[in-house]
Point group: C2
């Protein structure tokens, strides 16, 4: 992967402009449905949906390869805060609550005013849709250039708690006649609470919207140490450190901050803490361990125990120890959102000022060219290996998992790839 990425990077740097090459290529064979035994829709409603979708598919132009970016989403404006929170607290994969259907609207209503205020302080709404759409556009434009065999590529966005939701994206894909798609999780590290929840929802909606399995799926569910991701983080760290006086620069502790998880999720066996740690280590290795560092965890809510040390406590603690500069690096989200723009940039800045610490922050990756190239490399790599629908690790449930949706989703995405030539002859 590393070599391929470096080569892609060089070729991208050399290219004066992004050009589209819509080169005809063999369509992926629709064998996925046959392999899954899904010859017929499972219900009249599904049959109707499938029929409508088929009728709407263009019959002459080459359909695009879909690249579906999965992310949590965020409210675009103040009016969307409540629906966003309602969906979030209704997600049993994220927050399993007793009496969830009744509790979710109650908690969402209770939290809406304070969250509205937080969004107001960061400009009114979340920029996550802007960044995710831009990432998808840049990614697909470049994919057309470097992987013409599957061009044209068309980006879609499926948010878990805001528009566009999975069903909206999938219905658009059906209208566009997509037959082959890659689901790309925008979370570099896999958690059942993030990527897992998004894949469960995508699978649920697929069973409704594409019951015949017309779309052959591949999946990129984790990429914690992709060299392009690591390079992008490292460059942002280096840039942020430039703001520190040179004599003090090498001694500034770097705090890699990731969204925490409840200990119930950690103890169930969620792979996220291990994968976040791997990202941190890879970035520090790229930086030659020039600075001391810690992995810390943010955004704990509620009275239950969560994984620590907490970011806020760490800032205060290092202030007490006499540290004068700290560098925060958001390491588990790739776009700006409320956890960076409010929690790190407003709340933590306030804490740091009280603790006598100058708090620096590495910029989020957003549309960093190095980061976009990493996405291109990831998707190109997956498309070039049609016999590998997903990472081997996706198939293993958590040791204490009791969620039947996980078993079904994992089985689906591990067997849903486009046919290889040998398979197509079966």
């Amino acid at each position: 992967m590393s070599g391929a990425f470096a080569s892609l990077w060089r070729s991208r740097a050399a290219a004066a402009a992004i050009t589209r090459h819509v080169v005809p290529a063999q369509l992926p064979l629709p064998c996925t449905a046959a392999r899954r035994g899904l010859h017929a829709p499972s219900s009249p409603a599904a049959a109707s949906a499938a029929s409508a979708a088929t009728a709407a598919a263009p019959s002459t132009a080459k359909p695009p390869t879909g690249v579906l970016l999965l992310n949590m989403g965020g409210p675009a404006d103040q009016d969307e805060v409540y629906p966003f929170l309602f969906r979030l607290f209704s997600d049993h994969d994220l927050i399993p609550l007793p009496f969830q259907k009744r509790l979710a609207p109650w908690i969402a209503r209770r939290r809406t005013p304070s969250i509205k205020q937080q969004y107001a302080q960061m400009g009114g709404g979340s920029p996550i849709r802007h960044w995710t759409e831009r990432q998808g556009q840049l990614l697909c434009a470049e994919l057309d250039r470097v992987h013409p065999a599957t061009a044209p590529h068309k980006p879609y966005v499926a948010f878990r708690y805001a528009q566009p939701l999975s069903e909206v994206a999938l219905e658009q894909m059906k209208r566009d006649g997509v037959r082959r798609a890659v689901a790309l999780s925008c979370y570099p590290q896999y958690s059942c609470s993030t990527t897992g929840s998004s894949l469960n929802e995508l699978h649920k909606q697929l069973m409704q919207i594409d019951p015949a399995g017309d779309i052959a799926w591949q999946c990129i569910d984790r990429w914690p140490t992709h060299p392009g991701l690591v390079e992008a983080f490292a460059q942002h760290v280096e840039k942020a450190l430039e703001a520190v006086p040179e004599a003090e620069r090498a001694n500034v502790p770097i705090l890699f901050s990731a969204h925490s998880l409840p200990m119930t999720v950690v103890n169930r066996g969620d792979p996220y803490p291990q994968e976040v740690a791997a990202t941190v280590h890879a970035v520090m290795a790229r930086l030659q361990f020039r600075n001391p560092y810690r992995l810390v965890w943010q955004s704990q809510v509620g009275p239950q125990p969560w994984l620590g040390p907490q970011t806020a406590d760490s800032i205060t603690g290092y202030g007490k120890q006499g540290q004068k500069h700290l560098l925060l690096v958001p390491i588990a989200f790739v776009s700006d959102h409320i956890e960076t723009l409010y929690e790190l940039d407003v709340e933590n800045q306030h804490l740091a000022a009280e603790a006598g610490v100058t708090l620096h922050r590495a910029e989020s990756l957003n549309d960093s060219p190095v980061f976009i190239d990493a996405l291109v490399d990831l998707v190109r790599g997956r498309l070039a290996q049609p016999a590998q629908p997903a990472h081997h690790q996706l198939g293993l449930r958590c040791p204490q998992c009791t969620n039947p949706k996980c078993a079904e989703t994992k089985a689906f995405f591990q067997s849903s790839g486009p046919c290889t030539s040998s398979e197509s002859t079966l």
Copy 2:
């Protein structure tokens, strides 16, 4: 490091036998004490100890470079079980207890009978002294060959809870006239409970036994992703997987099992979970992620919350999910000890049998030639950089650390290296 290690590995493989090259080299200048302002012993007792040590030092032969292997140790026989447990429960860095001086002997007495039984089932005592001494001997013999500038190298062992304790090792080093030494933690990943506790104890004893700072120290406190360590683990995994029928081999979940930590330690900011995760990721990358895997945590004791998922629960959980084979890999200790030979091989085998799982176990590294070469590469690398006494990361305390010993120890080992030529002219 990777290239140097590969080259060392090739040269070792080519060598027909280990030969000693005692090549005279310039002695390290005793500038450490001057740099620390420690011109005179701080107490009469210390002065007497220092004087005795100096008197015992050989004056003509070139003194050896000391390589001090730090580890926890274990009872060599049944009679040593109580003293071992007493020291363990007396260690405030490991287990902070109220009224520790009274509680430690009480808990140790209470636990002695059951722990004696466990050791009885693994042959009577712990093999950790055998393995650590053997590692030190093989390491120093090879160091003499590949790094003659600092030869001869002499291994010493400092256990935290069993003989030989730090003071025994240090007194022997003084008698041998050692002027330059490397403290090598046998724990690849740094925890305040293991390496941190050993370094605190070493520092404390040094202030008594070598108050004038005659010995210039370098320190290897963490090496979680050293390529030789990763290679050794990967080879042991591959070998263990050979016992699984070939058709099922690629689907066997690998459970990397590390000693857990209480959540109070994790939440204080102990770097161990992050570094263990980095080792796991590096080993899986070397294995090209061919198998699914999880990082799990063993040896939880007491009622307080510890980091999970627990190894035992994971075996049971995967049994319920229908897994037929599991491979356990001890990933945070490098020698066999009670946690591998009893907990994994007796207790967990019993659990697995009940869960219908065939439990495989990767051998501990012990005296694996690849592993010994990794140690050689580590120490050689540190000796070749006298201006770098320790890893940059050692200096950063945990964000919630309130242990003054840690601050003193870290400062000592970050400034205790042998002089560089430029420093010696100051």
